[in-house]
């Protein structure tokens, strides 16, 4: 039973990673940029949710929607101001800019509100359900259902709508898509908006689950979500979900075995192993490099 309990915890944690990883994977799939600032969009989402619930006394769902909207706008702004000029720049320049944007968001937040953590208010009555001896808390159920609904919504947007079709086209071949009359700039902005909205939602449910947030909280989950995206095969949407869940479960198991301090190291070891042995990820196909 202990193991199933850890599995449940791992899936709750994994769904948060999966939501952030979706944004990474979508952005990487479309402009081949590791958006380091994505973890900080997650942090901003968490703080918007915090202020909405604790200060403006909104309910959980209005707060979630508000955080998602603000993060979507924020993501588009980052893309328009910092990344748009870099479309044709070298990969190193793009990556360094992303690191710069990430540091800028973190330290501007610290500048305005200080580095001290904030305690998240309780949004739903914490109740535990006993399912065959496994304790499942109401917050885990809330997290999981929010995550699943958002993922289904994303799947719908990507596969059934016009903008989703444009996104798939641009990620396949941006130049050909442009020739076909697709507005590539708007499509990239839409990708950033959707990815950032998901990160914002992940931020709010992270706050609800862990009850403690601070301006540097985005760094580690951000990197881990990137690991999840690589694990599933970067650029592949179901891959990000599976990678996130897998990473969450592995981390819970490592903690359960009594190595909780080594949890972060486990994630990096997984990253390095997957990069060395199967760089295209679990769902990826091996593509030969063009010379």
């Amino acid at each position: 039973m202990e193991w199933i309990q850890q599995l449940v915890n791992g899936i709750s944690l994994g769904s948060i990673y999966a939501l952030i990883a979706l944004g990474y994977t979508m952005v990487y799939g479309i402009i081949k940029l590791i958006n380091f600032a994505h973890g900080d969009v997650f942090m901003i989402g968490s703080f918007i949710g915090f202020y909405a619930i604790a200060k403006w006394e909104l309910g959980f769902f209005p707060a979630l929607l508000l955080a998602m909207t603000v993060c979507a706008i924020f993501g588009v702004l980052i893309e328009r101001i910092a990344y748009k000029r870099l479309r044709n720049a070298t990969r190193i320049a793009a990556l360094i800019t992303a690191i710069g944007v990430s540091l800028l968001i973190e330290y501007t937040t610290i500048f305005f509100r200080g580095a001290q953590p904030a305690a998240y208010p309780e949004v739903i009555k914490s109740k535990s359900f006993d399912v065959f001896g496994v304790q499942i808390s109401s917050t885990s159920i809330l997290i999981l259902s929010v995550a699943i609904v958002l993922m289904i919504l994303l799947q719908f947007i990507v596969h059934k709508t016009k903008i989703g079709k444009a996104m798939r086209a641009v990620s396949h071949d941006a130049d050909a898509a442009r020739l076909m009359g697709i507005n590539v700039d708007n499509t990239i902005s839409a990708t950033f908006a959707i990815g950032s909205a998901l990160a914002g939602a992940a931020g709010v449910i992270f706050g609800v689950y862990y009850t403690k947030i601070d301006p540097l909280m985005g760094v580690i989950p951000g990197v881990k979500a990137f690991i999840a995206a690589v694990l599933g095969g970067i650029g592949i949407i179901p891959g990000a979900v599976v990678g996130g869940m897998l990473l969450g479960v592995v981390e819970s198991l490592v903690s359960a075995l009594g190595f909780s301090l080594w949890r972060d190291a486990a994630a990096f070891v997984i990253l390095i192993l997957i990069l060395i042995f199967r760089p295209s990820g679990i769902f990826g196909k091996n593509a030969r490099e063009k010379v």
Binding site: I92, L95, G100, S102, E106, Y107, L261, D264, I272
Partner: protein
């Protein structure tokens, strides 16, 4: 003939700088605050130059340099405080341990390219940090007490040695092979250059000197803690190299000196410092992606009159 003259010119310059500062220190014109700042500048120059050989010369984007700094710092601290061996030996062994760590990290990861290499080196640096964090022998999260043994002489010799070795390497046949990898890896491979070998060599040399800097860094404070060697330290070093110019040794040196002095004055406002740093990174990348100096060296700026045909 000409070359050796240039060499002696630099040797005299280095000796003059050393002697002037040494006199200023012994006559107490430079008090302990400025001495400390000088040693910090030296450490940062070593770090910038050692990362320059990996990113600027070989074109391998590594953002885990703080990991090798940590290896040098911890190994040298163990040697002086636990084994009671002399400090110069500790510096050498710390640097050697970092080079070995560089080999261990480099051989598997250097098959990766670009973004993936960056994130893998970041991961390795974190793993190194977490290992030190969980080893009780070196104090775990609380940190390790270290004796204060660094001084201006050690730091200056370290800088001279780093610059000497790395500039000589760059100008050698091996260095040109590394530069060709930076310019176009596939073409370099096709020309018969063993790209993996040169990438690993550059990585190991870079880690060696990062370890050297780490040994002096550890003995410049009374305590070392795993938190010092996180992402932010790696990014700090990266900023020196990027701002100075990807591929310019003198550029990284100048940027290291400049930014160390600025951050010393902003020490009371750490948030402002990081905001300025990040804005500098973004603006430089957007408007001058090769960094301030590009691949030029300072000496190139004084060669207007004799373009071409210098023998």
């Amino acid at each position: 003939m000409k070359k050796s003259k240039v060499f002696w010119g630099y040797a005299v310059l280095a000796l003059v700088i050393y002697a002037v500062v040494q006199v200023l220190i012994s006559t107490n014109i430079l008090d302990i605050y400025y001495q400390n700042m000088l040693i910090t500048i030296c450490i940062n120059i070593m770090l910038a130059v050692s990362l320059h050989i990996v990113i600027g010369i070989t074109g391998q984007f590594s953002i885990g340099h703080a990991g090798f700094l940590a290896v040098g710092a911890y190994i040298s601290a163990i040697i002086t405080t636990k084994l009671m061996l002399p400090f110069p030996l500790a510096i050498f062994l710390g640097a050697l341990a970092a080079a070995v760590a560089g080999l261990i990290v480099g051989i598997p990861t250097l098959r990766l390219k670009g973004d993936y290499l960056a994130i893998a080196t970041l991961g390795f640096a974190e793993i190194i940090r977490i290992i030190f964090l969980n080893t009780d022998y070196v104090g775990g999260a609380a940190g390790m007490q270290v004796e204060y043994l660094s001084n201006w002489t050690y730091a200056f010799i370290g800088v001279v040695l780093t610059i000497l070795v790395i500039s000589n390497f760059t100008n050698s046949r091996h260095g040109r092979a590394c530069i060709s990898i930076r310019e176009d890896e596939i073409a370099a491979d096709a020309m018969g250059i063993n790209t993996t070998y040169y990438k690993v060599v550059a990585f190991a040399i870079g880690s060696f000197f990062a370890g050297l800097a780490g040994a002096i860094f550890a003995h410049n404070f009374y305590i070392i803690q795993p938190t010092t060697f996180g992402f932010l330290k790696s990014f700090d070093i990266l900023i020196y190299v990027v701002l100075g110019g990807l591929g310019s040794l003198s550029g990284s040196v100048i940027a290291a000196i400049f930014l160390t002095v600025i951050s010393a004055y902003l020490a009371n406002f750490p948030e402002t410092r990081m905001i300025i740093y990040s804005l500098v990174l973004i603006v430089v990348m957007l408007y001058r992606p090769t960094g301030l100096m590009g691949t030029k060296e300072v000496t190139d700026l004084f060669k207007f009159g004799r373009k071409g045909g210098t023998k």
